[in-house]
Symmetry: C2
Subunit: 340 residues, 2 copies
């Protein structure tokens, strides 16, 4: 246990609830000694912090699917790390694990929800936060279960160069679908088509999305997987086919709005096209994570899926700045903060 004696844990805590984009004033940088784990607990040295749009929601007060992060609490985050002390027979020092460790250098955990993973040269730690982590699970269950995807359908996904969207499109391609991705900027658009095999890309910053969808999906959309909300959701609703499904995964375009953003004015397309819009949370499918991860890992090994992580090296204190990259749409693939 002497490994952790004398270590200091630097942490990022929520200092205030943000109004709009979370600026530096919402974070407190604290430090405290790393303590020996309690009986049954482990201490994890965090090596990689996952940055996710959902974090913005956790920072707000009010009822949601999880309690908000309290003022003064370490910011909630999925992360990966290495066990450096263990009083839990399920984990050994040196194990690489993922879990909700928070934005800090060292996390104590009772092991609940902690997964031991086995990184290799081909599948490294960030991939366990991306394709083989919650991100991949979100894409998998959102598309296959909530989206009820059928082989050969037309799928449109927004945030297509993002962590979840880039997986959604690839999964749909595996199922023989026509896949159109909506992303911001020519580089992202080129990447999803040239590297990931999407059939078409729409640059929402340069194009009229509604017109571009009409051209790229002339027979309409069977599944619109929404990561962004706002005007893009509204445009997609106008192009639904009969019986379309619209899984609502997120609405990153609205998360930092300082006034209530408008709802999707074209929702009556759901009636005209007998379509459905359905929200989901990946945690609802936890019983099937194992099987899904196995299938995803197989596709990854076969080269049918590619995982891309946008890894930023830094200190935990850089977290606030890196998070803003997510909301500015600067990342391609999964945004991860690697603790130097």
């Amino acid at each position: 246990m002497s490994d952790i004696e004398g270590l200091t844990n630097h942490q990022v805590r929520l200092a205030a609830r943000p109004n709009g984009l979370p600026g530096p004033d919402v974070w407190d940088h604290t430090s405290e000694p790393v303590a020996e784990p309690a009986e049954g607990h482990i201490v994890v040295q965090v090596t990689h912090v996952s940055l996710d749009p959902a974090m913005r929601g956790w920072m707000n007060d009010g009822k949601s699917y999880v309690p908000p992060v309290g003022i003064g609490e370490v910011m909630r985050a999925l992360a990966a790390g290495r066990v450096v002390a263990s009083k839990n027979s399920g984990f050994a020092v040196g194990d690489v694990v993922t879990g909700t460790f928070g934005v800090q250098e060292y996390a104590e955990s009772d092991g609940a929800g902690v997964q031991t993973v086995h990184p290799t040269d081909e599948v490294d730690v960030p991939t366990y936060l991306a394709l083989l982590g919650m991100t991949g699970m979100t894409a998998y269950f959102g598309l296959f279960d909530v989206g009820a995807l059928k082989d050969g359908e037309t799928v449109v996904v927004s945030g297509a160069a993002g962590a979840v969207g880039s997986v959604v499109g690839q999964l749909a391609k595996i199922k023989g679908c026509r896949v159109v991705g909506i992303a911001g900027g020519p580089e992202k658009c080129a990447w999803i088509v040239d590297e990931l095999g999407f059939d078409a890309a729409i640059d929402y910053r340069a194009e009229n999305v509604k017109k571009a969808l009409r051209a790229a999906a002339p027979d309409g959309i069977d599944v619109y997987f929404d990561n962004v909300g706002g005007e893009i959701l509204d445009a997609a609703l106008t192009q639904l086919r009969f019986g379309a499904r619209v899984p609502i995964c997120g609405a990153i375009s609205t998360y930092n709005a300082t006034e209530v953003p408008p709802g999707p004015a074209n929702y009556m397309s759901l009636l005209v096209n007998r379509a459905r819009m359905e929200g989901f949370l990946v945690f609802d499918f936890v019983d099937r994570f194992g099987a899904a991860a196995k299938e995803m890992a197989g596709w990854l090994a076969e080269g049918k899926l590619r995982s891309r992580e946008d890894v930023v090296s830094g200190q935990v204190s850089d977290f606030g700045e890196v998070l803003l990259r997510l909301f500015r749409g600067e990342n391609t693939g999964k945004l991860v903060l690697q603790i130097a």
Copy 2:
């Protein structure tokens, strides 16, 4: 065949597409001689015209689930009447029938979609346009299939004193649900509670709907059956329970808007509560109309369901004025124009 010789057919035709509420200028009143039916056709003397919110959509140009009524065409309407001439072996003179006969005194039909009905003292002709017609089918399939109602759930329905809503609430009561109706004005609210057995009513004209829902459905809403759209839909979305279903039947509050009405700003409640919002059209369930009508007729006979029709006597030329009553929310139950 001499029965129809010399008769004149008065008609209401769409003269112009309305902007907002359809005023008298959108209608043309025409007349023409009633002709002998073609081989295989019948002539129906229309006795009752059904007035439905969907009519407003049919008057708009643009892609929808049915083609718009063309300028100069007889206004589309479901109706009931009596066969007065037949060259179709499926129908005899004197048969009482329902069908899409339009707003006119006499309709020629090839019999497609025409149903022969058997009114009695207990179940008269308007009931075949209401509880036992498309209205009842809409309530039945919207609640049981799209809404996937489970016994004992909490159901909220808007337009609760209207044709569809009043049936929805009664059907939910048959299934042992807690039923809250949203309607406009104290009389309607009293009617749905005192006469139809709803557990609670919210007068949207007098109450804050969101607060009132919180009080009337403190554990949240399992099924919100939406007939009205707009602010009431948005309020209901804030009160959904985990796994809620929101069948979208209509949006009468917005049909006469002259600018694009705002969408439901609280749609992200679908994500937080893993809920779904789904549009439907009754015609999608046509294969099961027979069985559903039989079940509904049984409940009607047992006194478990009540049908109320708001029957206005007049001429076909009164159609435009009667239609406005619908959009002003002046009807209780199914609005029907009986041709004097």
